[in-house]
Amino acid sequence: MADEVVLLDFWPSMFGMRVRIALAEKGIEYEYKEEDLGNKSPLLLQMNPIHKKIPVLIHNGKPVCESLIIVQYIDEVWKDRSPLLPTDPYQRAHARFWADYVDKKVYEVSRKIWTSKGEEKEAGKKEFFEIFKTLEGELGDKPYFGAETFGFVDLSLIPFYSWFYAIETFGEFNMEAECPKIVAWAKRYLQKETVAKTLPDQKKVYEFVGQMRKRFGLE
């Protein structure tokens, strides 16, 4: 029986992008369904009744929610190719820790920057630079967070690259100047076809964020 894989998603979602990259890495065919978050589909509400959020992966009718949980699920089901996590338990723990750090820190602080102004925005920027400095420290001299090749942590962070232009423009700073190692890492990772094809254009995301800011009364 052929696998039926459906992804409920929203094109600018960094969390959705993680799943799209994972599916592309594994060469899995799936049906992409774009959600209108202002008018959520009955399918989404049925498949993620607790949080009502995307992304949701529906595999042969069964839902999997939470992007990093979905990525691990994909890695475990399609385990015969392109591993997304290392095999060694300590390295796996290390990868999970840093992917969790990205989850806990990067989205919130990025959001603070593009949804606020004045002092709050400056505080957000300060926190943003601290978080990315920590990430640069973890990356060190390695080409990827996963060492020789990209891995779970790289996958969890790279979607934010598509938001960098929006964040630096509304934040009034230059990403490459503030976080050169991260930008270099991102450009390296973007040479991968699966990533390049999946990430939306930075300008498109910038326009989307601009529209959101208008709705929040920031423009």
């Binding site: 069964k62 939470e66 691990q72 699920y73 475990e76 338990p89 300590y90 796996r92 969790d100 920590t134």
Partner: protein, 230 residues
């Protein structure tokens, strides 16, 4: 493996440290439990968890592992003899992980919020916690497949993720006089809680409710900015 190869830096009231201890017990791993001093935080804590400076930290050999759910998964994967903690089926694993994240990001933060408020302000928080428990009762029905635990015959990942909060759940019930685990609304979880606390891996390390209650009173006073009451 020699006992001093595994150390756990924790604190007796911490449900997160309890998770790690239960997991180590399930795998029959001998370890040294180090009670963190706090105020100031120990050198060992600052060195082994420089990112968050929080307990628990598992130190295996010279390798530190941080974040309780990461630690539990590590314990499951590093010690392969002994019962499995995560289910083997990827779908079941995803379900256990989903509810563990729900507990950490949605449910327990509401419980912590109880300490910062008083009297009438507590009722809406307790209502939210109750709703969460009802969801977990339903999840238990699906996960346990008629057996004693979320993990089936033995304690599994979600049992650990949720069970670690039972001491604090009892404290919340005592402070507010309201029930969260209820024979009428959540009969399966009432039974599960008994089985969990009686399990060999949990008995003896679950902190006593009265001790936690005293600790909670001091913590609550600090959170509200008042001097601690005796």
């Amino acid at each position: 493996m020699a006992k001093n190869d595994v150390k756990l830096l924790g604190a007796w009231p911490s449900p997160y440290a309890l998770r790690a201890r239960i997991a180590l017990n399930i795998k029959s791993v001998k370890y040294e439990f180090l009670e963190e001093t706090f105020a100031p935080k120990s050198e060992l804590l600052l060195k082994s968890n420089p990112v968050y400076k929080k307990i628990p930290v598992l130190i295996h050999g010279d390798k530190p592992i941080c974040e309780s759910l990461v630690i539990v998964q590590y314990i499951d994967e590093a010690w392969t003899s002994g019962p499995s903690i995560l289910p083997s089926d990827p779908c079941d694993r995803a379900i256990h992980r989903f509810w563990a994240v729900y507990l950490d990001e949605t449910w327990f933060p509401t419980m912590r919020g109880l300490l910062a408020v008083q009297g009438e302000e507590r009722k809406p928080l307790m209502d939210q916690l109750s709703e969460g428990i009802v969801l977990l009762e339903e999840a238990f029905g699906k996960c346990s497949k008629g057996k004693a635990f979320f993990g089936g015959d033995g304690i599994g990942y979600l049992d650990i993720a949720f069970g670690c909060f039972l001491g604090w759940l009892r404290v919340a019930e005592k402070i507010t006089g309201l029930k969260l685990l209820d024979e009428a609304k959540t009969p399966r979880l009432v039974k599960w809680a008994e089985s969990f606390c009686a399990d060999a891996a949990v008995k003896g390390i679950m902190p006593e409710t009265d001790k936690l209650l005293e600790f909670a009173k001091v913590l609550a006073a600090k959170m509200r900015g008042a001097p601690p009451k005796n």
